[in-house]
Amino acid sequence: MREALDEWAFVTAAYVVGVGGTALMIAWSWLAMRRAEKRRERSREL
């Protein structure tokens, strides 16, 4: 017997996890790069 599952609920969850995870990774890497480049600029001024 086949379960009556709402396929779109699984599709939506996969897209939220996939797109959200990728967006968080981009934001985290961008912030880490900006912070490191600012630290380098500050070390030049010392």
């Binding site: 396929e7 779109w8 996969a14 897209y15 995870g21 981009i26 890497s29 630290r39 010392l46």
Partner: protein, 243 residues
């Protein structure tokens, strides 16, 4: 290859290549996902869950490509002492781990309606989970040993770990052939595809888009590591002058 070994030259190239990869990747991936979600038809057997593959397959490809980047960069670090190789390997580890985790989660979300279960301990799923643990080990090892090399690379021990761990990649690839599995065999091989064009084109576009995002993230993380090395070197020089 050593033409790109100069960090200043690399930073000049990365300065324009990073936004190009990121913006191009986000644009192509967004268009491909919208195409897969709203324009591609439901599959005859899988129904609407086929749309999960437009995220799951690129994530699986990039999880494995991330480790191959670590292994090739590790080889370049050990054999040619390429100064940016260890930094590239370290930079590829986190995005590789993220895409491996996304592959496992989206695969599980596809497995529940398609197979009736979230998880099975078969060859493909288990070897992919081992890849995620290898990433965790590599990230910890590279962080702990980075100072035994040039101060910014992953270090020789981590490079060797990256090369040895590459044995898992052909195991993942061949697992559906070697062992009984709920996971279907490869639908796309070199020069051959069993996927209908209605699904193949958005899948290829999504793979290109996410690959560009992966490249952009690796470049950003390389720039961050290089900036940290340069700041640390300046502070150390200043401390020596002051002393």
């Amino acid at each position: 290859m050593h033409g790109f070994a100069n960090p200043a030259r690399f930073l000049r190239i990365a300065g324009w290549l990073t936004p190009l990869c990121l913006l191009g990747g986000v644009g192509i991936a967004a268009a491909a996902l919208a195409w897969g979600l709203f324009a591609a038809p439901p599959d005859r057997l899988m129904g609407d869950t086929v749309r999960i593959l437009f995220i799951h397959v690129p994530a699986a490809w990039l999880g494995m490509a991330g480790w191959m980047t670590i292994a090739i960069a590790g080889l370049a670090e050990l054999v040619w002492r390429h100064p940016l190789a260890g930094i590239a390997a370290r930079a590829a580890a986190v995005p590789g781990a993220v895409f491996t985790a996304l592959c496992l989660v989206t695969g599980s979300l596809w497995g529940r309606p398609a197979w009736g279960t979230w998880w099975v301990w078969d060859g493909r799923l288990t070897s992919m989970l081992i890849l995620l643990f290898l990433y965790f080990g590599y990230i910890a090892l590279a962080d702990a040993t980075r100072r035994d090399g040039d101060g910014g690379g992953s270090g020789r021990v981590a490079a060797i770990f990256g090369l040895v761990g590459a044995i898992n990649i052909p195991i993942i690839n061949r697992s559906v052939v070697w062992w009984n599995s709920l996971h279907q065999p490869a639908s796309i091989t070199l020069g051959k595809s069993t996927i209908d064009m209605a699904f193949l084109w958005p899948l290829l576009a999504a793979t290109i888009g996410f690959s560009l995002i992966f490249g952009g993230v690796v470049l950003m993380r390389m720039r961050a590591i290089l900036a940290d090395i340069q700041a640390e070197a300046r502070l150390r020089r200043k401390a020596m002058v002051d002393a």
